[in-house]
């Protein structure tokens, strides 16, 4: 039996005396799609950050592909994240000094892979960004920026794809298109997909929903 992509046990985290959320146990299988929902401030982004190893939990354990993220030393955690986890941040931000293509090449290089122009070209083409490959981020529209950030999150074919509020500023049609894109790319790469959202429109597209707000983090 395959080890779960994400294995969370006795996880408690928060920024004050009272924990923001507590998750006794959560196992997410490889290839599974999970929506993390709840109102603003309930800890969705924080949970994604803990899974990505961007922060250490106050208590409990988060394992990704069998690796305890908090137990790794920081450099190893950074490298593990780069190699195995793709993240679409809530704020769509690319490095301003680099072109779209260079941003993707940098993501490959930081993950310890040689830049693969064919992979970058194919990904940009799939996301309708090929004509913008040599443009700098300042020239991109909001939608183009979102797709570009998605391309960067996918470029290393991550086994775990985390997306933070990918549809928050989009109309229905665009929100559905983005979710469909995420699902399609996750399927193509056999990746586990975890999306943090407060957008009720997207829940139906996921295998499972974790409501951090309603149940204090219990799935």
């Amino acid at each position: 039996m395959r080890a779960p992509a994400v294995d969370i046990a006795s996880l408690s985290h928060g920024f004050g005396a009272k924990p923001l959320f507590v998750i006794d146990e959560l196992k997410i299988a490889q290839g599974e799609r999970l929506a993390v929902i709840g109102p603003s401030g309930c800890g969705k982004t924080t949970l994604l950050g803990l899974i990505a190893g961007l922060m250490k939990p106050r208590a409990g354990r988060v394992c990704v592909h069998g690796e305890d993220m908090a137990a790794m030393d920081e450099a190893a955690r950074d490298q593990f994240r780069g190699a195995h986890i793709g993240i679409l941040f809530q704020r769509h931000h690319l490095i301003a000094a680099l072109t779209l293509q260079q941003n993707l090449a940098l993501a490959m290089s930081l993950a310890g892979r040689p830049a693969d122009p064919a992979r970058i070209g194919a990904l940009l083409a799939a996301l309708d960004l090929a004509p913008l490959a040599h443009q700098k981020p300042a020239t991109l529209s909001g939608g183009e920026m979102l797709r570009a950030c998605l391309a960067r999150a996918l470029v290393n074919r991550p086994q775990l794809l985390l997306a933070d509020e990918p549809t928050s500023s989009l109309d229905d049609a665009r929100a559905q298109a983005v979710i469909a894109l995420l699902q399609r790319e996750a399927t193509a790469n056999d990746a586990t997909l975890i999306v943090a959202t407060h957008d009720a429109r997207v829940r139906e597209s996921f295998d499972r929903v974790l409501d951090l707000g309603a149940r204090g983090g219990q799935p």
Partner: protein, 395 residues
């Protein structure tokens, strides 16, 4: 996309700021490197013109003036000494070589030096064309004089009284050029060399009726010792027992370096100030842009960059600025040295122009590089310590 390409892209993204920082560093590096080029060029030129001369004997007065006038031909002589006294000294067994000089006239700013062929040999001078002077009023000219005046063997010229332009001409005693000396990179290149007899001949009419005979005098004797003991005995003997003055070029040149050193130190301090200013500008620039780039660096961490990589990235950008400033500064210094030698007539001081590289310049370049890198340490540490989760959430 490796770290260097990323650093170059980042610097190109802030073109104006990067250009200003590089320019400031280049100014400091250029000022310091130019001082090295001028100082070392001057030292080499001074050493070359010394040509192994141990002692200069002339009329009493300022010893530095005597050295400057008799060896470097850049000051007025302290006076003349009698030929007999000079000849008697030249016969001293402790002296290996004594070359007499008779000064007083010039041709278009080039000094006419009455001497013996030993003077030419002292500087390793050879003829590029023509023959050495033989008879009175025959002369050979240095390469610079030939270039400036266009004179060639067979040509004639008239000396003017005094060591600078504007003196009365000795129209009745024209010289004939018998040869042109090949370039030596020494004082020889800037002189007209003739026999002692020529100078005496030209000045014969100036002898006073009362018996004073400048036509029987020499201006100085350039001496090489035969034995080291001469260095201890001869200067004291000449200064105490004769009406002449003995000056050791090594001592006077050391004094000269002392005078020049003040100006040189001032320029070097100015260069250091420029470099410090540039380092401060690199610091301010990196610190300010780091705030704007905080999210870039946090994203890089999220994409797999370690803290060390981020620290190195910020430091690397500053090092590139340092490298650019140092390289541009050295280039500017060498171009300036070439221009100074060619245009402003500093050729004698910079015989190689900018086509020579001294080890100290490498140290100056290293200083510029290190200053830029040092200025980046604090911003780089800030980037190193950054909490990525907090930075990404704040954005």
């Amino acid at each position: 996309m490796n770290a260097i390409l990323l650093a170059i892209a980042q610097l190109r993204h802030q073109k104006l700021q990067t250009a200003l920082q590089i320019l400031l560093l280049a100014l400091g590096t250029a000022a310091m490197a130019l001082m090295i080029l001028l100082g070392r060029g001057l030292e080499r030129s001074i050493e070359r013109d010394l040509a192994g001369i141990d002692l200069v004997v002339g009329a009493k007065g300022s010893p530095l003036q005597l050295i400057l006038s008799a060896v470097y031909q850049i000051d007025v002589p302290t006076g003349n000494i009698s030929r007999e006294e000079a000849s008697s000294l030249a016969a001293d067994p402790r002296i290996a070589l004594a070359v007499p000089l008779a000064l007083g006239d010039s041709f278009r700013g080039a000094r006419i030096v009455g001497t013996t062929p030993d003077y030419v040999a002292l500087y390793g001078g050879t003829l590029s064309e023509g023959t050495m002077f033989q008879a009175p009023l025959e002369a050979v000219i240095g390469s610079e004089v030939a270039r400036a005046t266009g004179l060639r063997p067979g040509g004639t010229f008239t000396g003017a009284h005094g060591l600078t332009e504007g003196g009365g001409a000795h129209e009745d005693h024209p010289y004939m050029v018998t040869g042109v000396l090949a370039p030596t990179g020494t004082v020889l290149d800037r002189l007209v060399i003739t026999s002692l007899e020529s100078v005496w001949e030209v000045h014969k009419g100036h002898d006073a009726p009362g018996g004073y005979e400048p036509s029987r005098e020499v201006t100085a004797l350039l001496i090489r010792y035969k034995t080291p003991i001469a260095a201890l005995q001869l200067p004291r003997f000449i200064n105490d027992q004769t009406s002449m003055q003995a000056a050791a070029p090594a001592t006077e040149v050391a004094r000269l370096y002392g005078f020049l050193g003040v100006g040189r130190a001032a320029f070097q301090m100015m260069g250091l100030a420029f470099i410090a200013l540039a380092a401060l500008s690199v610091f301010a620039g990196l610190y300010a842009t780091l705030d704007q780039r905080r999210h870039d660096l946090a994203i890089m961490r999220a994409l797999g960059a370690t803290r060390t990589r981020i620290f190195g990235q910020v430091l690397g950008e500053a090092a590139l600025i340092g490298l650019g400033g140092a390289a541009l500064g050295l280039l500017v210094a060498h171009l300036a040295a070439t221009a100074l030698a060619a245009v402003l007539g500093l050729g004698p001081m910079l015989p190689e122009g900018g086509n020579v590289f001294y080890g100290e310049e490498f140290l100056v370049a290293l200083l510029a590089l290190a200053s830029a890198a040092a200025a980046a340490i604090l911003p780089a540490l800030n980037a190193y310590r950054m909490d990525i989760a907090v930075t990404l959430q704040r954005a």
